[in-house]
Every structure is written in C-alpha cells, then in structure tokens.
Amino acid sequence: MAAPDAAAARTRRVQAVGVGRRRSATVLWNLVGLGFALVMVFPVYWMLSTAFKPANEVQTFTPHLVPQHPTLDNFRSALHAPNFVTDLKNSLIITLFSVLAGLVVGFLGALAIARFRFYGRKAMIAVILVVQMVPFTALLIPLYKTLNGVHWTNSLVGVTVTYLILVLPYTVWMLRGFIVNIPKELDEAALVDGCNRAQTFYRIILPLTGPGLVAAAVYGFIQTWNEFIIINTLNDPAHWNLMAFLASNQTLRGTTWGPLMAGATITSLPVVVFFLIIQRNIATGLTAGAVKG
C-alpha cells in the first residue's frame, strides 16, 4: 500500500501547485475566467447591440443595454452607403494579394536567413527589425510622391504593394523562427535521396512551415485589414478599403453611429469566423516559431 499512498500524496502536491485540478480552486478560477471573458467581450457586444438599434435609440442619455426595438435598418443603410460594397471588395483584394505576396517573398527571405550564412545577413536582420519601427504617419508625403511617380496612386496595386512593406518584415522574422526549428537532418536526408535544393525547400521545409505560414497570414491579415491612414491619403473613396470608409463615416452633421456599428459588424464577422476556424493553428503557429532560444 505504500506505493499508492506515495503516489496519492504526490498527486495532491501536484494539484496544489495547480498543474492538476482541485475542485474548489477550479470553480474559483472558472469564475475569474468567465469574468475576464465578459469584460473583454463587452465592447464587442456594445457594437453589436448598437448595430441593431433604430436611429432614435442609438444616442440616449440613459443607455439601453438591449435594443428595445431591434431593426436591420442600420445594416441596410451600411450596405447602401456610397462605396461600402466597393470598399469591401477592395479590402478583400488588397488584403488577399498583399498577404499572399508577403508569404511568398517572406518565405524565401526567411529561408535565406535561417538556412544560410551569407554576407550581410546580420544587417538584413537589423533592417527587418528597424523597418517595423518607422512611423508611417510621417512617411505619407514621401510615399505618395514615390507612388505618384510610377502612377500607382488611386490604384489598388499601389496600396497592395505598400502594405507588403507592412507585412513583410514580421513575416520573414516569424518564418525564420520556424525554419530554424526544422532539423537540418531532414534537408540532408532529402538531398541524399536525390532531391535538389529547390525540391528540398518545396517538399520538406514548406510543408513543415505550415502552421507558421498560417500565423504569419493571420498577422498580415490583421495589419492590412486594419490600415486606414495610408490608403486614405493615397486613394480616392472609390479605391479605399473598409477601414478608411469606416474612419470617415462622419459628416459635418455628426457621426452616424448606427450604420457605423453595423458596418463594423459586417467588417468584423468574416474575420471572427476565419479566426475561430484556424484558432488552433494560430496558437501553435505563433509560438512554435518562437519557443527557441
């Protein structure tokens, strides 16, 4: 009986540290966790609730937590607002292409930095870090003049390419962490099996970097989906993205909160769904590349 006793004692101590589970403690932690989830989600709820309120319920001195007369008017209004649908389309196109391009270019760059030693490698790493620190608000005029020089203002191409700069450094950095973690032996085994270098990259490293690509895609998606200052300056309303549309949804006659929140809901929903689907990949993707030092 001595052995089970010792095991039980050990289990108890393990539980006391919180690695295992103790009922009352778990209940307490559950409450804290639920409270946290509620506080986090409240602003999101407020957006949703506002989106369903009729015009005369949106702004009241005594807030209504639940819409008294729920309506879809705001969604209709948002969808009919000039440029909303166009800008939604623009958002999708710009995001898709800049993220894809970021992944392709970034994967190649990350390969170079992770698998090779070459002249200027350290400088490259430094540049990639520093580029992320440039305040883009101060670059607007130079950026405009540059793109104007090649007639890329007022076009989706110019913005897509500009967003590539926003996405690329972090993508390279993150994917590098992933590739470093793929054992060299795999490459070598593949080379021995008669693969050439390109095939090694394509057949061995690329699949193993999968979660990293997902994570980088998510990051890039958030960056480009959320940007509005650059595109607001570079393009006309017909070539804006949704964020620029939402940012300027105010006339001199005040902000139209109802349609704004409805527009925001429409904007966020696909992202939420997308996130929930690939949730597991995001988590592993974000860390697997990083837990390594």
Binding site: A55, R76, P82, A238
Partner: protein, 440 residues
C-alpha cells in the same frame, strides 16, 4: 423622343461651334479650349453635396456636358482628414481639376500657388459683384482672384418654444434677456442633471469667437511690419471670451472637451433649452433620417419635434445681433490642372443664379448678397439670412488653416473652461501660437 434630344444636342453643338469659331480664329492650332470632347473633368466636392444637393450638382454637370462635350467625374470627399489627402495629391502630378474647400481653409492654398489665377474670368461668373465677402475674401491674394464662392451657412439661436412658454419667457431680444432667460430656465429644471439652459460644448470655437467679435475683439491682426499678431489677449477679445465662458460654465452641462459635432443629438434628447447652430440644424434636431446614408429615407421624430424656433442670436451690443461666423465653401481650379478653361466653365454652371436658387431650397445660403433677400423668404432660412448680414470671418492669413487644424483655439477654450489656465494665460498662449503659425 430620343431623336428630338439628339437634334437639340446637334443644334446646341453647332451653335456653340459657331460661337466659338469667332473667338478662336487666331488659335486654330491649339483648338478651342472649351471643346471638351473626350476629356473628363475631375471634381472634388465635399460629402455635403452628395447627401444634400446631388441633384443640383448633376444638373450643372449635365448642362456643362451638353455645352462642351466633356464628361464630369465628381468625387465626394469626407471632411475628416481631407486636407491631408489634398496636400499629398497636390504634391503629385495627377491632380483634380476642381477642388472644394471650406472658406477658412482656402487661404492656405490660395497664397501658396495651389490654385490657378481666375482674375480674367471673374466677370463671367453670375453675381460676382455681390459675392459674400466672407467667401470671396479668402480667394483674394495680391489683388488677384484664385477661387469662387460656392455656398454659405450662418449660425442662429435655436430655442425651445415649449420650455420658454412654460417659464413665461419670450424669445430673447437682447443678450441680457438671453442670460436672464437662461437663469430662469436653469433653476426651473434644477432637478434634471443633464439640463443645459444653453448647451455649449467646450471646443465650440465658432461660437466662442462670435462672442469675441461681438465684443469688438478679434483673433489676429496684421501689423504695419507685415507680421501677424494674435489679438485674443486684447481687452475687447477677453471681455467677449469671458462672457462666453461665464455662459458656458453656468448654463451648459456640455462636455468641455467636446466640439459641436454631436450637439444636435444632445439637443434632441430634450434636456437643453437653447443651442447655437447652423440654420439646417433646426431641422436636424427635430427629425432624423431612418437611414442616415439615404437622404430620401423616412424621417423619425425626436423628442423636440415641433418645439424649436430660430432667431438671430442677440449680440453683446444693444440692438445688434451677434456677428455670426460665415462658414461656407469655395471652389478653386488646381494650378496643375491641364483643363483650366473647362474647369472654370463648370464652376460657372455650378455657381450660376439657377444653381444658387436650387441650393436655397436645400437650407443653405447662396454665395451672393443679392440672393440673400431671396433666402429670407425661404421657410427656415429667415433667421440665417438675417444673421448673415452681420458676420465675422477668420483672419485672412496664408497660414490660417494651420491654426485651425492644430486646434489652437480649441486648446485655449478647453484650458479656460476646465480651469487649467486663467483666461488671460490661455489667451496669451493662443496668441503666441497664432503668431508663430501665421508668421512661419
């Protein structure tokens, strides 16, 4: 039907061609500058036109297209950050041909070579001799004209007829009347913590400066040496400011850090008796569009529907109205535009007497004093038309838009109303900022 239009167009084209031949004989090589076939004018108008009077824009464009053959591409801009975009655009080569600007923003572009000189064409615009000076003033630089007045707005006093009646009050005839009414109303509604006898948010500088000018003060003045100096610390200016601060602090529950952006929604809650706003705000507080993005959608009544009247705001000097800020817009032709003559032609159509008359029905004031009397007979515009006759305007300095955009006046007002600075300290700080911005 179709044929008839085609015939009419052909006739018009022939007539135009014939008329143009006479004047362009010498320049046959360069062609008629007003022959716009195959050309497209790019026009930046502000969003107000889109939501308020798109039909007027379209009518003017149709007339223009019929006459010249050129197409018109109107792009509606949002006010938020529109100058950031415009600065960047004008720095490039692909510029819009026509740009609308707020009249207080104009001088920055007029003085810095962004607009084409229209002096030689001024006489061809309707009502050019009676343009409102608050609009045409900012278009002038060195005796030349660089832009054309578009429309104006004047601020009036909105008051709740039901509350005034319940308190046994009449519409205030003098400033003292107004303060007395505010006092009586505020104490009558002491139980409502949100009640403002006169709702004035702290950053409402268009209002505060009306008090400054009403007291005989001003914002800035150009000295004999050509240098600008802020004049908010002058005795008259400070007196006016003090009166505005007293009124705000005593009779307004408005947030001292807010501007007038949502004052209509606040007033519509029914807890404010008076409001200083544009003429059209009288409608905006009483009814809201079910769909704010659709000007044709059904209207929903607010709590104050049918209980609001407008009069010119009584001034600090007995027998005079408070000088109103004459806000509005102007239209300029970009200096980098390759279609300047066509652009001027479109502006001519868009600011014609016919267009201005159409605008009157939309609740905004026309660009000319000659048409103001006509405005006074439009329902809802009477008070505004009367108020517009006594107006003030921001200093006509090249750098004025920058003073506005860097929020110098708002900062001053917030500092005073929140008690962070005394009025004199805040006025001096603002004057220093104004001088450094206008003289840089």
């Amino acid at each position: 039907m179709k044929r008839r239009i085609a015939v009419a167009a052909a006739v018009a084209a022939t007539l135009l061609g014939a008329a143009a031949c006479g004047s362009s004989k010498n320049t046959t090589t360069s062609g008629n500058p007003l022959d716009g076939k195959g050309k497209t004018l790019k026009v930046y108008l502000m969003v107000d036109a889109q939501t308020g009077w798109k039909d007027v824009v379209d009518a003017a464009s149709a007339k223009f297209t019929q006459a010249t053959g050129a197409a018109v591409d109107v792009q509606y801009q949002q006010w938020a950050n529109h100058l950031t975009k415009l600065d960047a655009t004008l720095a490039g080569s692909d510029v819009p041909d026509i740009v609308e600007l707020g009249n207080t923003e104009a001088s920055k572009y007029v003085f810095n070579g962004a607009f084409a000189d229209l002096t030689s064409k001024v006489n061809t615009f309707d009502n050019n001799s009676t343009w409102l000076t608050g609009l045409s003033g900012p278009c002038q630089a060195d005796g030349k004209t660089y832009c054309v007045p578009y429309y104006a707005g004047a601020r009036v006093l909105l008051y709740r007829t039901d509350l005034f009646q319940a308190a046994g009050l009449k519409a205030p005839q003098s400033y003292d009347d107004l303060v007395a009414a505010a006092r009586k109303l505020q104490s009558a509604h002491a139980s409502d913590p949100k009640f403002s006898a006169f709702y004035l948010p702290g950053k409402y500088w268009y209002a505060a400066m009306a008090w400054v000018y009403g007291a005989g003060g001003s914002i800035a003045a150009k000295g004999g040496d050509g240098k600008w100096a802020g004049t908010l610390e002058s005795q008259a200016s400070e007196q006016g400011l003090q009166k505005w601060v007293d009124l705000t602090k005593t009779y307004s529950k408005g947030d001292p850090t807010k501007d007038e952006n949502d004052q209509d929604a606040v007033y519509a809650q029914g807890s404010s008796a008076m409001l200083y706003g544009n003429a059209w705000e009288s409608g905006a507080v009483q009814q809201v569009h079910k769909d704010p993005n659709d000007p044709n959608s059904a209207m929903v009544d607010t709590k104050v529907k049918g209980k609001v009247a407008t009069i010119p705001l009584p001034g600090l000097t007995a027998g005079q109205g408070m000088p109103t800020f004459l806000g509005g817009s102007i239209l300029g032709v970009a200096a980098k535009s390759g279609k300047k003559d066509l652009a001027a032609e479109w502006i001519k159509d868009f600011t014609s007497t016919a267009s201005m008359t159409a605008l009157l029905a939309k609740g905004v004031l026309p660009n000319s004093t000659a048409l103001l009397d006509q405005a006074a007979s439009v329902k809802g515009l009477e008070a505004a038309a009367a108020a517009a006759k006594n107006s003030w305007f921001v200093p006509n300095a090249p750098g004025w838009a920058d003073v506005e955009k860097s929020n110098v006046l708002q900062q001053m007002l917030v500092d005073v109303v929140t008690g962070k600075k005394t009025l004199d300290e805040a006025a001096r700080a603002a004057d220093a900022q104004i001088a450094s911005t206008l003289n840089s």
